[in-house]
């Protein structure tokens, strides 16, 4: 597994798309901080980038890479290496390189221009999002034989998490607005990893507004250690479950 990890990592380090992604992130972050006079405003722009763009790129990259290294994977599979070791090494290498790219493109500018608690929260939740969507991407790439289909499903999944789920939830809120649905809104939103990450950042940024009418609700859910554990546990599940399914698929897969 270590060897697979090492060679995949070396391969990824030479991958132009990965380098381009890291540089693009750096450009966007730096650009925001240079253009905006107020670092807080730049930071809020970065929040949008992390919430919308980072999951998309993490997932698409994982999917495309999964198809690109298929021949190499086949070659590895005929060697006396266990399948779990192959996939484990590849997933680990992908995760590490995506996190490194994000650390370089996002973490570094934040550290330089905006070293605050909120920035740390964004970095951590952003990293969690990378892992979640990389895991989902792995599963998609393994369960679809055709590349175009895999990429399409990936786009669809991203679209659901970033927009459709929220729209459905908002529609539900309107539809049931005369019923006591308040206690359900936060837990339901927290089922979506992107929403969960966003809420965790927002609890830092919009704290003043959060202390308004519904403040008690959020405090109840996230303020308690139990709530925070549930939030982190949900994120962990979003990483572990797809990966587990990916391993199962890969073990029984006819390469």
């Amino acid at each position: 597994m270590i060897k697979v990890f090492k060679y995949t990592l070396i391969d990824l380090a030479r991958n132009r798309a990965m380098l381009g992604y890291a540089l693009l992130l750096l450009l966007v972050s730096e650009g925001l901080f240079q253009l905006e006079g107020d670092p807080m405003k730049a930071f809020l722009g970065l929040v949008q980038v992390v919430i919308a763009l980072v999951p998309l790129i993490a997932m698409l990259f994982t999917i495309v890479y999964g198809y690109d290294v298929l021949e190499f994977t086949q070659l590895l599979a005929v060697q006396p290496i266990g399948r779990s070791a192959i996939l484990g090494g590849q997933v680990l290498a992908l995760s590490v390189s995506l996190l490194l790219a994000q650390g370089f493109g996002l973490g570094l500018p934040l550290l330089v221009h905006f070293p605050t608690r909120v920035a740390l929260v964004l970095t951590v939740t952003g990293s969690a999002l990378v892992l979640v969507f990389s895991a989902l991407g792995t599963l998609i790439a393994l369960s679809q034989r055709e590349k175009a289909r895999g990429v399409g499903i990936g786009l669809g999944v991203w679209f659901v998490f970033v927009l459709v789920y929220d729209a459905l939830l908002m529609w539900l809120m309107f539809a049931l607005s005369d019923r006591p649905i308040e206690p359900w809104v936060v837990p339901l939103a927290a089922l979506d990893p992107i929403d969960l990450a966003r809420i965790m950042v927002m609890l830092e940024v919009d704290l003043a507004a959060m202390m308004g009418y519904s403040g008690a609700l959020y405090k109840e859910f996230f303020g308690s250690t139990g709530g925070m554990a549930v939030a982190l546990g949900t994120l962990m599940l979003w990483i572990v479950v797809p990966i587990a399914f990916a391993f199962r698929t890969f073990r029984g897969k006819d390469l």
Binding site: K41, Q48, S177, M202, D206, A208, A209, M210, G215
Partner: protein, 410 residues
Amino acid sequence: MKRLFATVVPFILFVATMMARVVPHAANGAVPLTQRLKEALPGDTILVSGEVREGTLTIDRPMALIGAAGAVIDGDDAGDVVVITADDVTVQGFTVRGSRISDMHDNAGIKVLDRARAHIVDNFLDGCFFGIYLSGSRDAVVQGNRVVGHPQRENRMGNGIHLWHCHNVRILDNLVRDHRDGIYFEFVTDTRIERNKSLHNLRYGLHFMFSNRNAYSYNRFQDNGAGVAVMYSHHMEMRHNRFLSNRGASSYGLLLKEINDGVLEDNEFADNTTGLLVDGCNRFRIVDNSFRANGWALRLFANATACVITRNLFVGNTFDLSTNGDLMLNDINGNYWDRYVGYDLDRDGYGDVPYRPLGFFGLLVERMPYAMVFSRSLLVALLDQAERLIPTLTPLAMKDDHPLMRMPNG
């Protein structure tokens, strides 16, 4: 004879003034302070050292009661601690404590009843029920006092500095904390409040009721239940104050309720749940203030009319503006909004397209507070943008026609 009289009487008075004595008084000596107060001549100064514990002290003639370093007056839970019932009394330099908490009487550390020109300076009011209490007084000065309640018994505390039916008082350089209202004004006119700090009070940092022509400036109001409430008053001036971290469900930095003809200028609102709440105000000028990182920077109710809102700074607020109706009869113009994305082709410093501070999401949260979960999501960003391009839900008049392109200096 008459002439002689006219010469001699002023002379005698002059001599009497010159002879005004300074009487040192050591607590726990042979003579109690109560007796010294009874024997004092008008204009005397009593210099107290040590800890006086004689129940309520009443000062009923013009004089000065000065505390040496470490001087304490303890009311021993008898009721009020120091009561002033004469003009021209100075109380300075004491630690005052032990006014009884009561549901029937407003027992205070230092109380002035219906008199003029009291000077209450540099005292420390330690856990008094009411701190400094002026009733029916005029031309008084309250300066440099520290008025601190009991943080544990906050819900049983009275007001820190309490004024009732007063005129022309100056409240300067005081620190008030852990009381019910920090500074409370009812039926008070022509008074100035400057450079005070009002922190951690249960209700308001500063509270005006039916008090006209007052000015407060250079004060700091922080971590109070609600910052400042100005109600049912007219001709108020508020300048250079800081309203910070007043957080909670119904909390705000500054509440203006039924205020006519006032000025709010050069103030700073930061980290409040609601920065400024304007409810039923007429002809009020809101100019050159900065609103940063508030939940709602400005809540402007539809019953406010002819208010002028200009050259204010709105940065990093969750919501810049909200309202509760369709009517907008105020002049919002030339403010800086950090969310504005317009352009300025004629280079006059003002954006060429109006800014609509009220978004779809703001309205949504107004109706369904728990919709806050969607804050900063892609969905909300899209819906907000759509509403700004084609306003259908937000009041049409709710806009800034000439938003500033750059932050005003300072």
